[in-house]
Amino acid sequence: MTAGRGARWVLLALLAARALCAQDFVFNNGPEPQSLDPARTSGVPETRISDALFEGLVVNDARTGAPVPGLAERWTISPDLKTYTFTLRATTWSDGTPLTAQDVVDAWLRVLEPRTGAPYAYLLGDSIQGASAFSHGRGPAADVAIRALDPRTFRVTFVGPLPYALAMLTHNAFMVTPSFAVRRYGPGWTRPGHFVGNGPYVLKAWKPQNKVVVVKNPRYWDARDIHLASITFLAIEDQNVAYDKYLAHEIDYATEDAIPTARIDEIRLRPDYHHVPGSTVYYFLFNVTRKPFDDVRVRKALAMAIDRQELVDGVLKAGEVATAGFVPTMGGFHTTRGNAFDLDQARRLLAQAGYPGGRGFPPCTVVYNTSARHRTICEWLQQTWRRGLGIDVQLQNLEWNTFLDTKQKTHAFQLARASWLADYPDPSNYLDLFRTGAGNNDGRYSNPAFDRLMARAETLAPGPVRDRTLEQAETLLVDQDQALIPLFFYVNKFLLDDRRWGGIYANTIDIHHPRWWFAR
C-alpha cells in the first residue's frame, strides 16, 4: 500500500468517525424526569423522553404540530365525529413481540385504572364512553368503548362529537405502553434491561439527576428514516448552567430551560435563536371572594391601567404577544378584545368603587412563585398601578409548593400569578377552569350565565355555533366580569444551530417529536 492510499484511508476513517459522532445528539431536558412511564407523568421533560421511546396512534408534525399518522397508518371518522376507527401498522415492540390493537386497549385501560394513579386519567375518562365509570371503580372495563376489532383495527367511541380528538390523542396519556412488560416487571419496567417500547428510540441508560440515553430502535416501523444514533437527555434544572453548556458547545440544542430571562437581550440577537408565539397564557388571577376584588369595578380598573405592549416590548423582549383576552385564537374561535389599556376609564372606575385617586384603597398583596422573571413582571405591575391609579400593592414571593398551597388549597390570596397551557387545542380547555366548582377554579369565580354557556357548548357539534358560544363565554369571563387579568401569550423559544441539525422547528404547541430530528 502506498503512502498516499494509506492517508486516504485514514481520512476516510476520520470522516466516517466524524459522521458517526455527529449523530450523537445531546441537549438539556430540564429537571430529572419523574418517571419514564407515560401513563404516570405529565411534565414537559417526561413528554420529550416518552416521545422518543413510545408512539401513540398519531404524533405531532415537526413544523405545524398538527396530528399526523404514528402507530396508526390511517383512520376513518364517523359523520357524527363520535367514532374513530384506526388501522395500525404491522409492527412490533422493541423486543420483537407483535404489537396489536389489543395492546392499545390494554394501555388505555391501564391509564384509566384508579390504582395506576395516572394524573391525566380524566382526559380519557371525560371523553370516552364508559370510561369515567370504570376509572371511578363504578363500571366494568368491558363497558369502556375501546375495541380491538382485529389485530390491526382499533375503534374508540367518544361521549360526544370530538372535533379535536386527533390533537388530543397526541397527548402522553394516550401513548401505547407494553402491558405485558408492566405485568412482568412491575414499577421497574422502565429500567434499562427491562424496558420495552415502540418508539423510534429505545432506552439504553438512565442515571438519575444526570442523564437518560436512548439509541435508535432497529425494530421501529420507520427505522430507515431515523437519523440519529443516540440522543442524550441531560437533567439540568438551572437555566444558567444549561445556557453556559450551550455556549461551550457541550450541548447541541438549548431548550427553553436553557434560556435565562436575565440574558434575553444577548440571546435574542443570536442567529441560532428560534422563537414563535405559543398558546400558553400568562395572567393574574383575582380571588373574587376577597376585598377589594369582590368589586368588578376594582378588577376592571386594575386591568385597564396596564399597558401590556409596554410590558412585552420594554420588559420581556423575547417576542411575547400582549393580550387582554384569555384564550388564544384557534380554528374558528377568536380571542376577545378584552378591556384594553385606558387609564382615564380605569381611574373613573376606581373612583366609582370608592377609591378616588387610590385614596382609602385597602392593603393588597400580589403573590407569585419565586423566579426572577415573575419578580420583574410583578415589580413592573406594582409601579404601573402606583403611577396610574395611586394604589400601592405589596409583592410576596412564595416557594413553589407553598405557592400552590396558597393558591389552590387555602385560597388565602387576593391576586396571584398564573399561567395555563392547554392539554389539547380547544378553547374549552381554557374556559373550563372558571366553571363553578371546577378543580382548578382557584379564584372562586362563579357566574351561572357563564356555566350555562359552557354546558351548552358541550352539546354542540364543532362549527360556528359552538365557536360563538365559547366566545360569548370568554367575553363574559374577561370583558364583563374581569375574573383575571390576561397579560401575554408566552413565546416558544430555543437555540439550535441549523447548519448542523434539523427537524426541530419553532411551532405554536412547542412539541418537538424526536422522530423528526436529524444531523446535516
Partner: protein, 321 residues
C-alpha cells in the same frame, strides 16, 4: 465493682456509639415532623390532580394514615434498612437514588478535603517559616480571598475563566460525559479553596506560636536538622487547632456540595436533597437527612480519634489521669 469494657478505647467507642444512635433518632424524628409542617405536599402541581386520583396515590404511599402511624411505619421500614419509594421519582427507591448520588458527592468532598488539608498545611507552614517574606504575603492574601469569596461567586468565576473565556475545561457535567475526568477539576477547585485558605491561616498562626516554644528551642539545641524539627516537633503541636477546624470544615464541605453540585450539574447528594425539599419528596428528604447526619457524626468521631494520635495527653477514657 464497675462492670463493662476494660479498655478505655472500647468504652469510648461504646459511649460514642450510643450518643450517635441517640442523635440520629432525634434528627430523624424532628425531620419527619418538620417536613410535614411545610405547606404543600409531594403531589401538588399547577394542574391539580382529580381528588380520586390523589386519594389513590396517597393510599399507595400510606399518606392517608395518621402521622403517628406513618412515623411508626417509617421506623419499622428503616429498621429493615428500607427507606421506601421516592414520591417524586416514581421508578426508583430512595435507597437506589442515594446509592447513585453518594459516590459523586463523596468523590468531590473527599478530594476537596484532602487537597485543602495537604495544600493548607503546606502553605501555612511555608508562610510561617518564611514570615514576612513575599511568599508569606502572597499566601495570606490568597487565603483572605479564599475565605471571603462565597462558593456561589467563586464557582461561576472559575467557570467563566477556565471554561467559557478559555475552553480548557468543561463548564459542568460528570465524569461519564464526553470530557471525562476533566469535569472534576472545577467543582473540586471551587470546594477546596475556602477550606484550603482557612487551614493555611490557622496553620501559619499556630506554627508561628510553636516555633517560639521551649521544646522546639530544645530540639534545635540538640542539633536536630531543620526538616526533622519542623515535621516531627513543630507540626505535631501545631496541627491540633487545624484538627479542631476539620469538624466544622467537614460540615461546611457537606453543605458546600449543595451549591457546587448545582453550579456544575454534578449528580450528587446535595442537588438531590435540594430537589427533594422543593418537591416535598418526604421519603427522599428523610433518606438525605439520615445520610448527612451519619456522615457528620462519623467525621466528628474521626476528628476526636485524631486528637489522641496527635496529643497523647488527650485520652479517650473518662478515668485518664
Amino acid at each position: 465493682m464497675k462492670r463493662g469494657p476494660k479498655s478505655p478505647m472500647l468504652r469510648f467507642l461504646l459511649r460514642r456509639g450510643l450518643s450517635l444512635a441517640a442523635t440520629l433518632f432525634l434528627v430523624i424524628t424532628l425531620a419527619f415532623l418538620l417536613i410535614r409542617l411545610a405547606p404543600g405536599g409531594p403531589f401538588a402541581s399547577e394542574k391539580q390532580l382529580p381528588p380520586e386520583i390523589l386519594a389513590s396515590i396517597q393510599r399507595r404511599y400510606h399518606l392517608d394514615e395518621s402521622v403517628p402511624r406513618q412515623y411508626l411505619r417509617f421506623l419499622g421500614d428503616l429498621a429493615h434498612g428500607d427507606l421506601g419509594p421516592s414520591y417524586r421519582y416514581q421508578d426508583f427507591s430512595v435507597d437506589e437514588l442515594i446509592r447513585d448520588a453518594l459516590p459523586p458527592s463523596m468523590t468531590i468532598g473527599a478530594l476537596a478535603l484532602l487537597l485543602a488539608l495537604v495544600g493548607g498545611v503546606s502553605l501555612g507552614t511555608l508562610a510561617a517559616l518564611r514570615q514576612n517574606s513575599w511568599l508569606d504575603y502572597t499566601a495570606m492574601a490568597l487565603a483572605v480571598v479564599g475565605i471571603s469569596v462565597p462558593l456561589f461567586v467563586l464557582g461561576p468565576l472559575f467557570k467563566l475563566g477556565f471554561a467559557l473565556r478559555h475552553p480548557w475545561l468543561p463548564t459542568s457535567g460528570w465524569i461519564d460525559d464526553r470530557r471525562g475526568w476533566l469535569t472534576l477539576i472545577l467543582p473540586v477547585a471551587t470546594l477546596t479553596l475556602p477550606y484550603l485558605a482557612g487551614i493555611a491561616r490557622l496553620t501559619r498562626a499556630s506554627v508561628l506560636e510553636v516555633l517560639r516554644s521551649d521544646y522546639v528551642r530544645a530540639a534545635r539545641a540538640k542539633g536536630l536538622s531543620e526538616p526533622v524539627v519542623v515535621l516531627r516537633h513543630v507540626l505535631r503541636g501545631a496541627l491540633l487547632p487545624v484538627l479542631s477546624y476539620l469538624g466544622p470544615a467537614c460540615a461546611g464541605i457537606l453543605t458546600g456540595t449543595v451549591v457546587v453540585e448545582t453550579i456544575f450539574a454534578v449528580p450528587g447528594l446535595g442537588r438531590l436533597s435540594v430537589q427533594a425539599a422543593i418537591n416535598r419528596d418526604y421519603t427522599l428528604i428523610m433518606g438525605d437527612v439520615i445520610v448527612f447526619a451519619v456522615l457528620l457524626v462519623l467525621m466528628n468521631f474521626l476528628v476526636d480519634l485524631g486528637y489522641g494520635f496527635l496529643d497523647p495527653r488527650i485520652g479517650h477514657g473518662a478515668d485518664a489521669p
